[in-house]
């Protein structure tokens, strides 16, 4: 059992959780994730470790409410216990002195890119972060990223904060003006990562993207998380989650992510119906989501 030590609502549908998981906290490195199962009937969902405190024995994760499990988690209170947490899983991000590194985060991807940004800056790199969100209130971790990076750019879809437009617009400008860019890391929605890879490809800038396929065990046993990289089958949980953005088959993965949409929608609807009335947040979410 793993206790939720703290919980904050950071942005619409995004919560930060502080979890008591001392053994994992001792080992977690930037780029790794955990798999959570809330209770006996729960499913196993992968979540990136945004920061780990080996001394306090805690993990910080950011979870966006998209379906049944993330919603159910957002209803849990400080002091509540999560049944299963396993990790740290996946390969850590490669930390080295590359020169200038551009880090692009979209949505909950910002939480995933933050620890990598911190480590790369500490390793002596010039780190330029580009954070993207729909609106100002959805920009998360801005202060942390300001502390962690050399520069931070923000793009919002509606222009309510930072520049109006997409992270890729900023990326293009950065590449053109801040030559050379030695490495790009993008974590966020699949379409965003694909667009980033398309931009850096002609410049031959090494570009890493973090794949988030459906997972079950996270140990290489089930093969549900397979992605095609350079025409070869890879398992994101043990071979990734980071892969060469110029070599991954985004289309294939986008298709696989759609597998359970009808079932997930059903589960979410049922969950909202069951908790409705007794639970105001669920009501609110139903209007937003």
């Amino acid at each position: 059992m793993f206790t939720i030590l703290d919980k904050n609502n950071l942005a619409p549908q995004v919560f930060r959780y502080l979890l008591d998981a001392p053994d994992i906290a001792k080992k977690a490195l930037p780029g790794q994730f955990i798999i959570i199962r809330l209770n006996e009937t729960g499913e196993r969902i992968p979540i990136t470790i945004s920061s780990a405190d080996p001394i306090d024995g805690t993990l910080t994760v950011y979870v966006q409410d998209v379906g049944k499990t993330s919603l159910e988690m957002s209803q849990m209170k400080i002091g509540d216990k999560i049944l299963d947490i396993v990790g740290p899983l996946g390969n850590p991000s490669l930390i080295d002195l590359f020169g200038t590194v551009v880090l692009i985060g979209g949505g909950f991807g910002i939480a995933a890119i933050a620890p990598i940004a911190r480590a790369l800056t500490q390793a002596g790199n010039k780190t330029i972060a580009i954070l993207g969100a729909k609106t100002q209130d959805r920009v998360i971790l801005e202060q942390e990223m300001l502390n962690a990076c050399t520069h931070v750019h923000i793009a919002t879809d509606d222009g309510s904060y930072g520049t109006q437009g997409l992270v890729t617009d900023i990326l293009r400008k950065v590449i053109e003006t801040k030559k050379p860019v030695d490495r790009v890391i993008a974590i966020g929605p699949m379409v965003m990562m694909k667009a980033v890879a398309d931009i850096t490809r002609p410049f031959k800038i090494p570009t890493l993207v973090s794949m988030n396929p459906i997972m079950i065990d996270g140990t290489g046993m089930c093969g549900a998380c397979r992605v095609t990289v350079n025409g070869e089958m890879k398992f994101a949980c043990v071979d990734g989650p980071e892969f060469d953005g110029h070599a991954v088959d985004f289309e294939g993965l986008l298709n696989r992510l759609k597998t359970y949409i009808p079932e997930e929608t059903e589960a979410k609807k049922k969950y909202l119906e069951e908790t409705q009335g007794s639970c105001q947040i669920a009501n609110k979410l139903k209007v937003v989501g």
């Binding site: 053994d23 994992i24 080992k27 199962r37 009937t41 729960g42 499913e43 196993r44 049944k68 499990t69 049944l83 299963d84 947490i85 396993v86 990790g87 740290p88 899983l89 079950i216 065990d217 140990t219 290489g220 046993m221 089930c222 093969g223 549900a224 397979r226 095609t228 089958m233 043990v238 088959d249 294939g252 298709n255 696989r256 759609k258 597998t259 359970y260 079932e263 997930e264 059903e266 589960a267 049922k270």
Partner: protein, 470 residues
């Protein structure tokens, strides 16, 4: 042995099973097992060989004539005690051992008639003991003060843990998943091995004082070095199995509706997807399944698929013919009776899709050629024979390789080119690393429950000697 001959003609006592029609839409156990009277009748067929061949066919050398004699007498608890001297999990092996290739294959009365139903009897005594024994009497040796880590809670790890605990060692099992049991939990389905039997065995291990730490991936959360140097374990047993699924390597394998047997079975057995939405993990409501392969895994996947509420048809596509199916004959017969369609001499060449989902699988017809080095006839493609088989889901059950996680995190652990851990001393299952032992599928590649347990027991003896001398 002349006296025994007339008895050989007595037919084998059939074990009752639920009718195909009744069982094919639920997950309850297919085979019902003997009643005490049936067990005694069957046991009386044994001619009590002086040099019993059956025992040589059993990887852990269960004292077969001795236990069967007790069954014939009606002392079932004594029979169970005898079995358990060499086999810690008889309720499980009695159900899943490929007996026709092991103990029963060598039974002398099988030469002229039907061999003794050793597996069914083993299952009977274990079930009888579980239901009738008072559970107070567990004896363990006084504590030795030694700590032993077991990595992986499959049959190999569980067998090793049981013996080590009995000999007075402190034993902690580390398991990657949230439930212990390995393939016994996530792979072999409920209708063949009810989970309550596994739970009872696990309960027994816990009562021996064994601690099971789930959600713990060794190699990630802790290395072997850390277990030994920081956490004070005196020895380690690695029983991490062969859980890495093979795919076909043909176009279209990433389409939605293509599963590895591991994924499909894990969704059902470990995550209860057939009870969605009461459980959160879904399985898509497919109508037709094509299962590729012919081993136990393929049959388990096919029969599991058949039991899902929306399934209308399940096909099994195999490269060779019925005679070469590696699965147990009993399972094949059960599957045939339940209405699984077996298609032989077919090899898939491409998966075709529609809107991102599987729609059909292109297969080439095969013929059997000359036997290869292993003695099995090699399937050879027949030219211009590729044709489409319609199916909206495909389950790939081609076997599995070993998981590289541990070897990757421990450079001085020797493995072969397939990643199997190499034994420096096969007599005690010692690896190239002092104090680190291994056994089960991680050493042999995908094999059987009983051979994994046998390896676990052998390693336990090696570990016992090792820690008592260090």
């Amino acid at each position: 042995m002349k006296k025994g001959l007339p008895k050989n003609k007595t037919p084998r006592t059939p074990a009752p099973e639920r009718s195909a029609n009744e069982r094919k839409k639920d997950f309850k156990e297919v085979s019902l097992g003997y009643s005490p009277a049936m067990a005694q009748l069957e046991a009386s067929r044994c001619i009590q060989c002086k040099k019993p061949k059956c025992v040589l066919g059993c990887p852990v050398r269960v004292a077969i004539p001795e236990f069967i004699q007790q069954v014939a007498k009606g002392d079932f608890l004594e029979a169970a005690r005898i079995v358990k001297e060499s086999n810690a999990l008889p309720a499980i092996t009695g159900r899943v051992c490929p007996q026709e290739d092991q103990c029963e294959k060598h039974c002398i009365i099988g030469i002229k008639g039907e061999p003794l139903a050793i597996g069914k009897l083993e299952r009977f005594v274990a079930d009888y003991e579980r239901l009738h024994q008072n559970l107070e009497t567990i004896e363990t040796a006084p504590s030795t003060g030694k700590k032993i880590a077991i990595v992986g809670a499959g049959p190999a790890g569980l067998a090793a843990a049981g013996d080590l605990a009995k000999w007075g060692h402190e034993v902690v099992i580390f398991e990657a998943l949230h439930k212990p049991g390995g393939v016994l939990f996530y792979g072999i389905p409920e209708f063949r091995l009810p989970k309550e039997i596994l739970e009872a065995e696990l309960e027994h291990l816990k009562r021996l004082g064994i601690k099971i730490q789930v959600n713990y991936v060794i190699g990630k959360i802790k290395t072997l070095d850390e277990l030994m140097l920081q956490d004070g374990f005196n020895a380690i047993f690695i029983g991490t199995g062969a859980g890495l699924p093979y795919f076909l390597g043909i176009p279209g394998e990433n389409l939605n509706g293509v599963y590895s047997a591991n994924e499909f079975l894990t969704r059902i057995n470990l995550m209860h997807a057939w009870e969605f939405p009461a459980f959160d993990t879904p399985i898509h409501p497919h109508k037709t399944f094509a299962v590729i392969g012919g081993g136990n895994t393929a049959l388990d996947a096919a029969r599991t698929a058949l039991r899902l509420p929306t399934t209308e048809k399940v096909m099994l596509l195999y490269r060779r013919t019925r005679g070469e199916l590696p699965a147990r004959l009993e399972e094949v017969e059960h599957a045939e009776a339940e209405g699984i369609e077996f298609h032989y001499l077919l090899s898939p060449v491409e998966v075709k899709g529609h809107n991102g989902w599987v729609s059909e699988i292109l297969c080439q017809k095969m013929k059997l050629g000359e036997p290869d080095a292993s003695g099995r006839k090699q399937p050879q493609p027949i030219e211009n024979s590729v044709h489409a088989i319609k199916s909206d889901a495909i389950i790939i059950a081609l076997g599995s390789g070993v998981n590289p996680l541990i070897a990757k995190s421990s450079s001085d652990l020797k493995t072969d080119r397939h990643g199997h851990i190499e034994l420096a001393d096969p007599d005690i299952n010692l690896t190239s690393r002092p104090g680190v032992f291994a056994g089960g599928d991680i050493v042999t590649g995908a094999a059987t429950v009983i051979s994994a347990m046998g390896a676990g027991k052998k390693a336990a003896e090696g570990i016992h000697k090792y820690v008592m001398n260090h």
